[in-house]
Symmetry: C2
Subunit: 209 residues, 2 copies
Amino acid sequence: MATPLDKARQNPNSMKAKILTSARRLFGTYGFHGTTTRMIAKEVGIDISTLYYHWGEKGDLYEAVVLDINEGMRSKLAELEKKIKGRPLSERLRIAIDEMVEYLFERPEISNLTIFRYFTKNRHESTFDTKVPEFISDIAYSMGLTESRKKCPAEAKMQVLAIINAIHNYVSGESFFLPMLEVDREEYIRQAKETIKFFAIPSFTKSVQ
Amino acid sequence: MATPLDKARQNPNSMKAKILTSARRLFGTYGFHGTTTRMIAKEVGIDISTLYYHWGEKGDLYEAVVLDINEGMRSKLAELEKKIKGRPLSERLRIAIDEMVEYLFERPEISNLTIFRYFTKNRHESTFDTKVPEFISDIAYSMGLTESRKKCPAEAKMQVLAIINAIHNYVSGESFFLPMLEVDREEYIRQAKETIKFFAIPSFTKSVQ
DNA sequence: AGCTGTTTCCATCATATGATGGATTTTTAT
DNA sequence: ATAAAAATCCATCATATGATGGAAACAGCT
């Protein structure tokens, strides 16, 4: 069964898809309450009622955006997992961190929205399935932190969360952190990669090999 | 010259202070746009106009909240710096991380609001002095990552940011992460401390001593 | 008690915002 | 070319929200 989201993804030039793209960016920048349907409609260049025609109420559009970025993350991680399979841990970390940082700096709305979802509440109870990212366990598994994807210890999950969140932090915090570091964007991204590897590699390669 | 904020801090039972406390919590939970002046007034148990009488417009109250939590962080860090002075690096890290995590889990609004400020824009341009936390450099200095507080290299600042943000993430993300870890709150806090030390200690003690 | 300055609340306003009905235009299929 | 379906826009509503003026209640002082 094709959901509205599937339909939007099929044709990136469809109005549904255009709206979704703007909504991703704006919800990511200003949050749920900080973004109005009028702002989204204006960015797309359509009337507000056209937006409602395609996506229904604001909360439904937001939900679609969340599902969309979750799917993006899921598939990127699956791709990464294949690529690093069989290599030694420190190399796996290096590749995974470099690629993930690149990927997210090109799509900052993903980090913005993820952080929004983690750290803030919406006043209107988000009834829809929160879909807690189960890929946290997958990453832990592919890093050799757990024997089984299902029974992943809390400790391992916490460690994976730390790394992922650190990436999101640098991506999402660019406009805040970059000025205080007095470097250019390229250097900032490089430093983000290096810093995360600086923390991840010695820690993980000490115990696990 | 005593600012309105100073006045509020002088007497924690004053109406000004009560409003500030509720505002801290609510802005931290729902963000600037997600929090209405009516919500704050209701939590305090006063009429909305009383709130405006004391703090003026919403943006001014928000600004006061930000300054307030910044001051809290600043003084806590100063206290910590004294306490760890002279000890070996790994011990300094252990103490600082443990205490900072405790401090913030008792005042989650600080982490919530800090993250909000880092990672989201307010639609109404925040004209007021952003006060980029200059204590990042202070921490770097007290960890021996830089010779001078003034000329702290970007690399060191990035590393300090990573640690601070990691703490904020665990504090602020409790309601999201705790359910997916299937542990109780106490264990969650313990794990947060351990995980951050897991990353910080090997990385820093490898090069610096 | 009576006066004065402070604090609080009630009523109200203007605007922003989410949402919709219905007319109009555009597209698609025959 | 025409009819049906799909997409878009205009006008409008109800409510939420930030903000304020002015009356009432309160506190401190003589």
